[in-house]
Amino acid sequence: MRSCEPLLFKNRRAEGPVFLEGYRKNGGYQGLEKALRGMSPADVREEVKASGLRGRGGAGFPTGVKWSFFPSDDAGEKYLVCNGDEMEPGTFKDRQLLLADPHHLLEGIIISCYALGIGTAYIFLRDAYRECAGNLERAIDEAAQAGLLGDDILGSGFSCEIHVHRSAGRYICGEETALLNSLEGLRPNPRSKPPFPAIKGLFGRPTALNNIETLANIPHIVTGGAAWYKSLALTEQGAGTKLYGLAGHLETPCCVEAPIGMPLGELIRDFGGGVWKNRSFKACLPGGASTPYLTAEHLDVALDYEPLEQVGTRLGTGGVVVFDDRTCMVAATLNLLRFFARESCGWCTPCRDGLPLVCWLLERLERGEGTREDLTMLQEQLSHINGRSFCALALGAMGPVDGLLRHFAEEVEDHIRMGRCPLQD
């Protein structure tokens, strides 16, 4: 069984969270010391860029490149916002990290603020993660007491404060510009881009936005160096490790840290315990609810950004959701689309009206009432909705529909031909 020395989960213990003492005992805050004492902010940014780290929140944009658009050296108020909204179904990795080791995120945030010339950071946390918020608040107090946070950190002259912001539900808040509105106390509809948040973000000021897992990688890149970090991946182009969620029809659903580039089938077998009840693998979402399905023929694919794009899907959040051979993929897709339709913020027509239409079509198909015209209309929605909505929510929502029509066309046809769901007795 192939595994890796954990980075982000190195302090994860069954007995509960590790706080400052435990975190420091195991090498915690050494990255911060190294950055503040021996590296310029530009050095840190270069190291992160060279590491090949890509955003772990779903979009997979290279973190160093994203940071290169940020006016790090400009004077004036700038913000870092950590996106901890984690509401993509199948995604529970950030929660696992915060339940185990809140200082890990804090160190990542403080180093990132130093690299980007930022004095104030917000952690935007979803409502369901109250326990995580408690862990973070305690960790922030501890870090401030120890001189790791606040004014003149470790005598370096660099100052930084971190605030925890608790949200109150709604998936759209994970969209970065909706998140900024939510944080400002405005109705969380997305904003138009440009201007991008790096130029005009929170309270109209330059804002860097990164996911929890992304930021928690930063201390390791600083400590171990870009070349070492990059070498942790199993693929040539990949970098680092990943927190994979393993859920759905598995014997042992769990969240594990494994190298980027881990083959899908190996991860499912070695960590997920294989498909439950001795059934066989039919399909999976490789990276959360918005990523098109993979099938049994894809079990050798490496869980890395490029290899997954080559087979028409995305690494997304790394939340793998497995379906066994008794699952109706029309029904699964309907469940996913009901989620997206309900969570649409209602701002733009393709999303607000298009997604309920897609649900209606899938309901008809699943009930055995669907016709060829319904199927054509469903196919048309891919081009009617994709690229026409205000933000990426609707595009993500159509991911499973795209996967359904590409990989399970015959199963969809069977619903029409038989006038019922072929997987129901």
Partner: protein, 162 residues
């Protein structure tokens, strides 16, 4: 209106509003405080939040009605949120929801006659590794079997009554 929060709580919130450079950012904190004290946010609650924050009622209302975890209608002593997203669905959340409806004799969106429980579906709770999951009040239950629900409800009821 003052009964929604104590004088002390209102004074504390007002002080924080005064100290923070961007008071509007606190709108959810104030709404959470009102909801924690009253179970839900009434029209009077929206008005109180507006006064505390120095906003109009409309500015608060458009926030209060957006978030599904801010309740703008009365709810029971405990709200049951049953996750109906994909991982929980794949491991039996529909059976959980049906059993709860039977045990409580209410439909989703309703509150039991004794005012104890409100039953609501919710999207992913971030407990996909413990599916099917549900949340009652602040307690998360994972790996729930329909047969366990009666005991879970009894325990939650006893907590309120004790």
């Amino acid at each position: 209106m003052a009964t929604l929060l104590s004088e002390k709580q209102i004074a504390q919130l007002k002080r924080r509003v005064k100290e923070t450079p961007h008071p509007r950012e606190m709108v959810l904190d104030v709404l959470h405080a009102i909801q924690d004290a009253n179970g839900w946010v009434s029209d009077e609650g929206v008005e109180l939040a507006a006064i505390v924050l120095g906003l109009s009622s409309l500015q608060v209302e458009e926030i209060a009605t957006f978030y599904d975890k801010i309740y703008r209608r009365p709810v029971g002593r405990k709200v049951i949120h049953v996750c109906d997203s994909i991982c929980c669905w794949s491991r039996g959340s529909e059976a959980i929801m049906l059993r709860l409806q039977q045990l409580l004799a209410i439909a989703p969106g309703e509150t039991t006659a004794d005012g104890m429980f409100t039953l609501l579906p919710t999207c992913c709770l971030g407990a996909c590794g413990e599916a099917p999951a549900l949340r009652i009040g602040r307690t998360l239950y994972g790996g729930v079997e329909p047969e366990q629900l009666e005991a879970i409800l009894d325990k939650e009821r006893a907590e309120v009554e004790s």
